[in-house]
Amino acid sequence: MLKKADNNALWAVIASLVLFLIGGLLTTVVPPLVDTSWSKPFENTDPAKGPTGKLVKLNAQQLQGRAIYIREGCWYCHTQQVRTLLADTKRYGWRGVDAPISTPDEFVNDSPHMFGTKRTGPDLARVGGKYDEQWHRTHFRNPRDLVKGSVMPPYPWIVNNPVEFQALVAYLQTLGRAKDWRPANDYEK
């Protein structure tokens, strides 16, 4: 049958498109229909089932902060996903509490998604509440003032613009907070 494609351009095009579309449709259109957790916002009131909490939509200031995060390409160096690996839950936990694994229902409001592919810097999926505003101010002005050996770029134009700076920090403080994962509720502001 495929031999016909040797001489017949239309036939070749149709055959290659059909073969492509089988996988194309089964891996893009079908999965969200099968796995509904991709589109149902996180909500849990039963501590027996893991961390409780509820995914809330970002407010205007937090959305502005997210737009800055996108504009400055923070997402080329930082991922936002605690993977199903012990190394991730341990490393991205803090003060003795393991970070909960990221689940699709925590991200249903995200567009564009910020999962990322590269960890030049640490994962930020649970960074919300880890540092206070002053820490971020110093860090964004010049990361090397706080963390010797860091290769994160300085962002003076953000720190020198109070509206942008506060928006960005407001956004960072929401990360990972749908799940109320710190028993002592010791989040920084």
Binding site: F20, L21, P153
Partner: protein
């Protein structure tokens, strides 16, 4: 078979009787602009490699910050250099394989103008931070729409040429180019438009389908089309097996698209989808090995030709890198391997071997082959071309190998959570220094290549090509 030459090769004299004379204006414009972008974006590439060594370098200028230069580097290399070069070579190859002139040089020229407009628009928007936030799909919407328009113009021109062809049987390069045109349409629409209607994991899944297939179903098939044309042509040896090339093509058509979710192994996406992506990633070995075997078998007994021919050097090194990169790919989609190398510097090492080591090498070979014919002059300097090969080869190897080693080591350290993150950053600094200097070597190779092409095109050397 009928003799085919480029208009420039006749040198204004009346063409030999019965010969088919190609105009080739479109091919020339695409190739010249792609080479120019290769050089310009190469500067940016070196700059971002330098920022890993000196993070404060030009750090206070917003439009020169890492997060804005990096998408410019990626988009500039993918669309400004590689895709434009591939399109230029397609405009060169297809009329010759079909035995007819390009359907419309006017439409082709308009496509070249539009393409340059898109790339310039990309430079401005990405530097100002106007970024849509999806990898490989950073360009703002109005540019996305223009890309679609340009692609339709390109596709129409190529398909019309194919439909008027004189030789009924289509050589394998023609299928690969037809495949590229139709698959790209779907892949690009998924990554740039379908994503608008999804959020979160669902959107990420569409995004990775696009990212993966931008390489797998755009750069791979058009790159292979070039290799299937250029390897037999540059070595004057017929292709080893038509049947094997069919196996490669049809398995590629079926297998590639399933693998997008392997970018999210262990991530917040359904386990069953990860498993499917892994299974199909391993199956990718079939189309890859079919093509690679065919190329090696074609060269059997002809390897000595590599000594004399720069295009063949680039082509066969590209084939070896193709074999390697497509062995890495399936391997690090496996869950255990992914747990170490995913998100590390291993990944840019892998990606550069595919896009630079394989597909850019194929395109460079094609350009070195085509330029003397397109301008009807001998290449400005064979020696310089040879040097450009060695610069890119040594620089490339330095780049790939150090990033694999570094990335593997980094992932190993991350898996020991008692090591603070910053220590794993500091540990990689020597790697980034080597990467920077390897990048400089690659860039020197690019400068030699670009100079050679431009000097041939503009230069006064009038001897006809051999």
């Amino acid at each position: 078979m009928q003799e085919q030459i480029s208009k420039a090769e006749t040198g204004g004299a009346p063409s030999p009787a019965g010969a088919l004379v190609h105009d080739d204006t479109t091919a020339r414009w695409f190739i010249v602009s792609s080479v120019a972008y290769f050089f310009i974006v190469g500067i940016i590439a070196v700059l971002i490699a330098a920022k890993f060594v000196w993070p404060d370098l030009m750090g206070t200028i917003p439009w020169l910050t890492y997060g804005r230069l990096r998408p410019l580097h990626v988009n500039g290399m993918l669309f400004g250099w590689l895709l434009a070069a591939d399109m230029g070579l397609t405009y060169y190859i297809i009329p010759r394989l079909c035995g007819v002139k390009l359907w419309s040089e006017k439409l082709g020229l308009a496509t070249a103008v539009l393409w340059n407009f898109i790339i310039l628009g990309a430079v401005v928007s990405l530097l100002t931070g106007w970024n849509q936030g999806w990898e490989y799909a950073e360009l703002p919407m109005f540019l996305d729409v223009l890309v679609v328009v340009a692609w339709i113009m390109f596709g129409a021109n190529i398909f019309m040429t194919i439909s008027q062809r004189k030789y009924e049987a289509m050589y394998v390069s023609i299928w690969y180019i037809m495949g590229t045109i139709v698959w790209t349409a779907f892949v690009y629409l998924t990554g740039n438009f379908a994503t608008l209607f999804a959020t979160g994991t669902n959107q990420a899944n569409l995004n990775w389908m696009y990212v993966h297939n931008a390489v797998g179903l755009i750069f791979t098939p058009v790159g292979l089309a070039i290799a299937y044309y250029m390897i037999p042509r540059s070595s004057n040896t017929p292709l080893y097996s038509h049947k094997l090339s069919m196996v490669g093509f049809w398995s590629l058509a079926f297998v590639y698209v399933w693998t997008g979710a392997h970018h999210m192994i262990h991530g917040p996406i359904s386990q069953w989808l990860q498993t499917i992506a892994i299974a199909f990633s391993v199956m990718l070995l079939i189309p890859v090995w079919a093509a690679v075997y065919n190329f090696f078998a074609t060269m059997k007994g002809q390897w000595h030709q590599l000594r004399e021919s720069v295009p063949l050097k680039f082509l066969m090194s590209g084939v070896v890198f193709y074999l390697l990169t497509c062995f890495q790919g399936p391997m690090h989609s496996l869950r255990t391997v992914s747990a170490i190398v995913s998100k590390t510097d291993w990944i840019p090492g892998h990606a550069h071997m595919a896009v630079l080591g394989t597909f850019s090498f194929f395109a460079i070979a094609g350009i070195y082959f085509a330029v003397p014919r397109l301008w009807g002059k001998a290449l400005h300097s064979e020696a310089l071309a040879n040097w450009s090969y060695w610069m890119m080869m040594i620089g490339g190897l330095g780049f790939f190998v150090t990033l694999w080693l570094g990335g593997f080591w980094q992932g190993w350290q991350w898996n020991n959570w008692s090591i603070p993150f910053i220590d794993t950053v500091v540990a990689l600094k020597p790697i980034w220094v080597v990467r920077f200097f390897s990048g400089v070597l690659i860039f020197v190779g690019i400068v030699m290549f670009a100079y050679n092409v431009l000097a041939t095109a503009l230069g006064a050397k009038e001897e006809p090509a051999v």
